[in-house]
Amino acid sequence: MSVIAPKFRLGYFLKGIFDNAFWILTIVTLAGIPAIQIVLFYLELPVIDGELLTAFLAFTWLFNPTMQVPLIKALIYSDLFRIVAFPGFGFAALIAAGTIFVERKMLAKLQLRVGPFYCGKVEGILQLAGDGLKLISKEIIIPAKADKPLFWAAPVLFVGTAAAFVALIPVAPGGWVVADLDVGLLAVFAVIGFFPIITILSAWSANSKFPFIGGIRALHQMVSFEIPLILSLLGVVILTGTLNLSEIVESQSSFPWIIFMPIGAIVFFTTMLAELERIPFDLPEAESEIVAGWLTEFSGMMYGLVQLGSYLKLYAFAALFVIIFLGGWTGPVFWPPLETEIITEGIPIPNYAGDPILTVNAPGLPLLDQDPNEWVLQQQGELQYTSGQLLVSGVIWFVLKTVGVIFFILLPRGVFPRIRLDMLLHIGWYKLIGLSFVNIFIALGLVYAGVIGPGGIL
């Protein structure tokens, strides 16, 4: 009945807050600011408008409206922004959160129930935030005799590995990718190879039977489906002759590869489900056999981190499917429907006195134009689209396709039961590997018949 703790005193509470604030301030002053300065000493600072951006300049410019846009632009084109926000972690986490919401509501609709409903007034849109708050405020219980360092590290490493996977995904044209690698596809395989290790280590470290069985199952499953996963993408590599994911997307500007390689797409989709441990392949977490599999001993926020990691992984796999088989960001470019005045003259932004100090050219989206001259070139008719327009429409297409693929990843959860380990291995080793070789031979045939490739018909 009691919401407030019985020994609650307002004075103690305030004192606690002041104490904490004092100590935080002290520590920041004594340790934080020197640390930031040491880091800044080693970082290469960007040059904006011919001036090296120092911390002092940054703080000064922050309040100067004319310099804010270049400042933000410089921030957007820094590596930090890519890693933290747009093609990197923030974007992926946003889509992952959306995935969780869509999954719950869609599954509820399929099962003729309501789903999350009350949290956030509108169809339970804040349920995820509520769940996060709940998870973070729960006690973390470490099983006795567990291998503590490994056990603590496993969820963090899981999220980290999933994020490393996300780093390889190109989202939009013009190099909007955290790490643009020549061997991107191989890097994907290398990163995927880390998941079974983390799984089995966390399972082993818990010193409990059910996680151990679940971890061994997860190992078998991931390991067995890695080979069809690798082989099913070989067809596309044969046809494009590159391992760079951005180049693979650009090779699909006229048609997506799924037209020629439906078998490869089906095999890749199936292996994707297995690697993601989603129903019908969720054997490592089969709750009616081994309580929650390798997640049994995780509690509180550790479990939340593992879930976050798995949904990041889900986004990354869906994006990989889109990139390789559905043409990534390719699609008709949207022209923002604005008045010609705005297009030609831009939107003036006045300062406090009413004098126009800055003009924002809306369709070119100057914030996102890498080259400021693109707008001029486009006005002269030498450039069809600025990179900002390409970025916006590319991201929209990419997100639309990814959400479609995610929908099909989520749908089996409502339709299929879980299968058994020996059936799973049988499917992986017999059927999928055979099918992926069929796919490779189709690709070879396409090349050697002269349909695709150098001097081909298409």
Binding site: L107, L110, Q111, L112, R113, K209, F210, I213, I279, P280, D282, L283, A286, E287, S288, E289, I290, V291, R413, G414, V415, F416, P417, R418, I419, R420, L421, D422, M423
Partner: protein, 383 residues
């Protein structure tokens, strides 16, 4: 003589216990396990195979039989339905029939029909609940939600009849406690028809699902001979090809006036055992419609009983076909208002014996499918 009778099952050759001594892991599946119900199964596994399984029921034992010895025939009614609250009419049925025999009381015709309707509705309610859990045991969450939701249609009907959603305490020696409400026939017909339409939709997503078939077919096969030897009953027995349904073989109340069909499958695997209850539900809908049609439109519903009825000095053994199989009630009376000894011979307890037999040599992944396909209700087995 012993060797030829006791069923033995061939194990894969690598799984003899003496060979794999140090590789065996003992798992306690239950009582706090999402795949066990209120029971513990001590499972010894070697890798992916179960080499030994030992069911350990009793976590919800409440001594109904002992408690019944100190309560009179009427006040026993709310207690005896407790073991299977989802199937409370059917678990009360043999007791009520037995007490009627002992006390010597006739049941009005209309009450018999109402009893049949209530019992069949309850059977469907139970099977829906069972099916929901079977779905979630196989990881099929839609098959958990759909039966649990559609069950509401019938619970609503039972609530209209008896005034309670579960634990109806509706049957009483001499009839039923109250008459059905006005225009009940129309509502019942409408909801039962919709219910039948709904459960036919389970076929596409569940029973004809190739993954489910591949998963449960040929797992936990119980042959006809073994099913008889092990004394199994109900859906387990009928899935193994034995045509034995007490509604036909030993008709009670008005089942002999209705056109009752029984469903028998030959294969005896988990899939057949899970399909029989579904077919039973379709059959129950037929029976309810027939009973609604043939039911006398008016008439007495309950023969008045003396306040504290005393049974004859005799013993009776009555049995009915409940949602899980034969439910028997053995009452020994000594001429007192209380039974001297009351024994519930319930089908869950009888089917439990097949569990270790079926699990041996099976894969661990098959354990929930085999276990729940036995139509086992832990509380009923424990009583």
């Amino acid at each position: 003589m012993a060797e030829q009778v006791i069923p033995t099952k061939k194990m894969p050759p690598g799984l003899q216990v003496e060979n794999v001594d140090d590789r065996i892991m003992t798992l306690n599946v239950g009582p706090q396990h999402p795949g066990s119900g209120h029971m513990r199964i001590i499972v010894k596994i070697d890798g992916d195979y179960i080499v030994d399984a030992d069911p350990d029921p009793g976590y919800v034992h409440r001594g109904e039989e002992k408690m019944a010895e100190s309560r009179n025939y009427i006040t026993n009614i709310p207690h005896l339905e407790r073991p299977v609250i989802h199937d409370s009419c059917n678990i009360l049925y043999p007791y009520v029939l037995g007490v009627e025999d002992l006390v010597g009381i006739e049941v009005p015709e209309r009450a018999k029909y109402v009893r049949v309707i209530a019992a069949e509705l309850n059977r469907c309610i139970y099977i829906q609940y069972w099916l929901a859990i079977y779905g979630i045991f196989l990881g099929h969450s839609t098959m958990f939600m759909w039966p649990a939701g559609d069950r509401e249609l019938l619970i609503d009907l039972m609530e209209k009849i008896t005034g309670a959603r579960v634990t109806h305490a509706y049957f009483i020696p001499g009839g039923v406690r109250n008459d059905v409400p006005a225009n009940f026939e129309d509502v019942c017909l409408r909801q039962v028809n919709y219910f039948e339409k709904r459960i036919k939709e389970y076929a596409d997503i569940f029973y004809d699902n190739p993954i489910l078939k591949a998963r449960t077919e040929d797992t936990g096969v119980l042959s006809r001979e073994d099913a008889i030897r092990l004394g199994t009953t109900g859906s387990v027995l009928r899935a193994s090809g034995v045509d034995y349904d007490l509604r036909i073989k030993e008709p009670y109340d008005v089942y002999d006036e209705l056109d009752v069909h029984t469903n028998v499958l030959k294969s005896g695997d988990s899939y057949a055992r899970s399909k029989i209850p579904w077919l039973d539900m379709l059959e129950s809908c037929n029976i309810i419609r027939q009973a609604l049609e043939k039911m006398p439109k008016s008439g007495s519903i309950r023969t008045k009983l003396k306040p504290n009825p005393k049974g004859r000095e005799d013993e009776v053994y009555r049995r009915v076909e409940s949602g899980r199989g034969s439910a028997g009630c053995h009452i020994i009376s000594r001429g007192k208002p209380e039974p001297y000894r009351l024994k519930l011979s319930v089908s869950s307890f009888r089917n439990l014996i097949a569990l270790p037999y079926l699990l041996k040599g099976e894969k661990l992944g098959n354990m929930p499918a085999v276990y729940w396909s036995l139509n086992y209700w832990p509380v009923e087995a424990d009583r």
